[in-house]
Every structure is written in structure tokens, then in C-alpha cells.
């Protein structure tokens, strides 16, 4: 009797399992976009970037390097191989130069070559100092060295070509 009961319960389970039918997606042969709002690979609009380095400052994985190769060139180097795609860089960017794209097909056989974003920023007389970034909250405030951070010049805010005067003025004291 018990055996029959077991068999019946097993049969029911099989039927239950058959109900949804085959759900397997066609990926990778048919493309499949991530959901709206997905945070993929960050890309920098190099022409908008003002080289403030705020992204490097807040990055939890510390995968963004800011290097000044000479007095007029600042290089932002994104080491995507250890990027966690948290989107903090895009969040804090004062000029919205960073976009979290939907790219997720990042597999590669050579991450050190392929998973790099290297952005050479032309630093004009003002922006090279990077002072136009102001942290969104007191907790994010720059406390560390690691950025070239000259004395803050109030005039900069007015002259800023990136159009962040209002932001800068508000948060600056």
C-alpha cells in the first residue's frame, strides 16, 4: 500500500515537473538583452570627462588609475578585469561622462589587453587639478592622497567648461 502511495506521489511529481514545458532560452545563438537598468561595462565619454578623478576616488575595487603623463595629459586607466560594475563611478561623475553600458559579454583570453579602458584627457589650464569633483556626501569627501589636488581656486568654478558651476558652488564651502 505504501509502495503504491509512493509510486503515485512520484508520478504526480513527474507530471508537476512536466507542466512548465521546455523553457530553455536560445542564448548564445539568439541574443538576449539584459533587463532595463542593468549595470554593464562602464564606458567614459572622453570628450565630456574633465579628469577630476572622482570615479577613481570612490571605486570600491580601486580599479581606476589616474596618471598624469605630462603637464597637459591625464590618463584614466580603467582596469575592467577587476571592475565590479557597481556603478559608483557613474553615480558620482559630476559631468555624467561615465555610462554603465549593457555590455556583459566580456569573456576574453587576454584580459590584460582586452579589459582595459584607457582615456587620455587633455588637461587645459583649469581642469588638470581635478578640483571640479565634489563628493556627493560628507562621507565621500576626499580624504586621501592619490589625486593631484592643488589649492582650490574659486575662479575655477566660474570658468569651468563642463558646466558644473552650480554643483560646484553649492557643495563647495
Amino acid at each position: 500500500m505504501g509502495v503504491l502511495k509512493t509510486l503515485w506521489s512520484k508520478l504526480k511529481q513527474a507530471i508537476l515537473a512536466l507542466k512548465p514545458g521546455r523553457v530553455t532560452l536560445g542564448y548564445p545563438f539568439t541574443p538576449r538583452e539584459p533587463e532595463e537598468g542593468f549595470r554593464g561595462l562602464p564606458r567614459v565619454d572622453v570628450n565630456r570627462c574633465i579628469g577630476c578623478g572622482g570615479c577613481a576616488e570612490v571605486c570600491p575595487a580601486r580599479c581606476i588609475r589616474v596618471v598624469d603623463t605630462d603637464q597637459t595629459t591625464r590618463v584614466l586607466c580603467f582596469l575592467h578585469e577587476r571592475c565590479t560594475f557597481c556603478g559608483r563611478c557613474a553615480e558620482v561623475c559630476p559631468v555624467n561622462a561615465i555610462e554603465m553600458t549593457k555590455e556583459f559579454e566580456l569573456s576574453t583570453d587576454d584580459p590584460h589587453e582586452d579589459l582595459v579602458g584607457e582615456y587620455h584627457i587633455w588637461m587645459g589650464p583649469c581642469e588638470r587639478c581635478g578640483r571640479c569633483f565634489e563628493a556627493p556626501s560628507a562621507l565621500d569627501r576626499l580624504k586621501r592622497t592619490g589625486m593631484r589636488c592643488d589649492e582650490i581656486d574659486a575662479k575655477c568654478a566660474i570658468a569651468c567648461p563642463a558646466g558644473v558651476e552650480a554643483d560646484s558652488e553649492e557643495t563647495k564651502s
Binding site: 512520484k10 513527474a14 515537473a17 512536466l18 514545458g21 521546455r22
Partner: protein, 304 residues
Amino acid sequence: MTLQSYLPTIGIALGQMLLVLLVAPLLEGMIRKLRAVIQSRKGPPIWQPYLDLMKLLAKEDLRVCASPIVTWGPPVMLAAILVAAGIMPMGGAVPASEVADLVVFIGLLALANLTLAGMGFSTGSAFSSLGASREVMIMLAAEPVLFISLLVLAMQSGSLTFAGMLEAPFNIAAVAAAITYLLALQMYVAKVPFDITEAETELIGGPLSELSGPRLALTHWAIFAKQFIYSSLFIQLFLPWTMTVIPWLGLAIVANVVLVLVLDLLVVGVAMSVNPRLRLDQALRYGMTLAGIAAVALIYSAAL
């Protein structure tokens, strides 16, 4: 009879062996497909086991010890199972009836089991030794059911040869034997819930855990072949009428293969999809209960 007169028998047996060798992986492939269907997914192609085996034949052969049992175990295991396949009835015909009977058949399968267990004990790893120990224990639970339920037929027909057993009358004892055989089929083929020997998630493959490359391929092949043999034997011995209605032997063999596929899908495939693996003691209790039922059937049929 001289030994030369057995040459045709040897030829037919070799033919059956080849058939089982080639068809057995298909059986596994179909089962995997069925499992995928029950699991709501597409699953691998049905010829996947062939690809697996071919791939394994090209992989490096890692050895943990130089024991001849480990070196020769897999070929011996597969050979023993193939010979068992060669002497069993196929398509309603038993060419090798006088060459080997049921006792030899069981002995050959036991040789395969013992070889597997021996291989497990040889490596010195806890997983494979425990797996080997379990293999013997499962044998202790499963073989009596298998043997006794087949002996019921032998008892009814008074003969231990397969040719004689095909003639066995179909009565209540035979039905009981058939049911116990069917209920224990999962145990013989060592699939979930009775894949206790290999138990990937407990013993990382048991006796197979130290095998790689061609030796793993042969062992897998032997397991697939065993699956075919046990299912085929059920069709042949307990449902012989399915074969006798087919006039032509070639067709009967095809029908045999098809019926084995159907049986395996319905019983093995479904059962392995909806059950968790049992613990060794639970499996043993199950096996011994079935053995007890089969024993009653045997004694009843002896008293008939």
C-alpha cells in the same frame, strides 16, 4: 561435440556483443533526454554519450597506482559484461544456450562488479574504497533479487539455460518475479535512487573517482552496457511473447532494442528523475524486501 562446432556460436555471440556495445550509449542518451524533458530543459542531444566516450578515449590516462587491477580492470569489466551480453537471449533467440546458462551469466556480471570493487579498493583513496565497499553491499542486496527472480523462471521450466527459461509457463509466481525484477531494475542499473556506489555528491564518483581517460570510458561503457543487458533480459525472459509474435529474427532484435529503450525510459528514466538518492541502509532494506518477495515466489513455484 567438439570445440570447433562452437565457432558459429562464438560468431553470433560476438555479433550480440557488438550490438550491445554500440547501442548501449544510445540508451543512456535517451534517458538523459527524458530527464531533461522532466526538468523543463532542452538537454543534450541523444548521441551525447557517444561524444562523451569518444572524448574520454582521447584524454590523458592518470594513474594513482601501478596495480594490475587498475590497469586491466576496466577492459576486464567491459569484456565480462559484453560476454554476458553475448550469451543472453536477443530477439527471442538464444544461440549460446549450451555454452553458458544463467549461472554463468550471473557469474560474469559478478565478475564485472567485483572488478569494479577491486579497482575501487586499489587506489587507496577514501572515496573509491568506500564506493567499492558500497558496490559489494549493493551487490549483496541486488543480486539475490535478480538471481532469485530469474530462478523462479528456471524453476518453472526446470532448466537453467536461457532457452529453457524462455519456455517457462506464465503464472502467478512468474508475475511476482517479473514485478520484483522490475522494481529492482533501478538497483541493477545503479541509477538514482540507487547510484549509491558512484554517488557524485557523496563520494565524487566512488570507484570511478580515480579513473580518467580511456579507462573511464571503458568503465562508463560497461555501466551503459549493463543497463542495456538488465533491461533487455526483462523483455526477453518475462515478456517473451513480445518476441515470438515477430516472425523474422532481425526485426525481433530491432524490436528488442526498441522495447528496451521504452522500458528504460518509462522505468529508469522516470524513476531517476523523481527520486533522491537513498542511503545505503535504505537501499539494502528495499533490496532485501524484494529479495524476500522473490524468495516466496521461488518457493511457491517449487511447491507447484
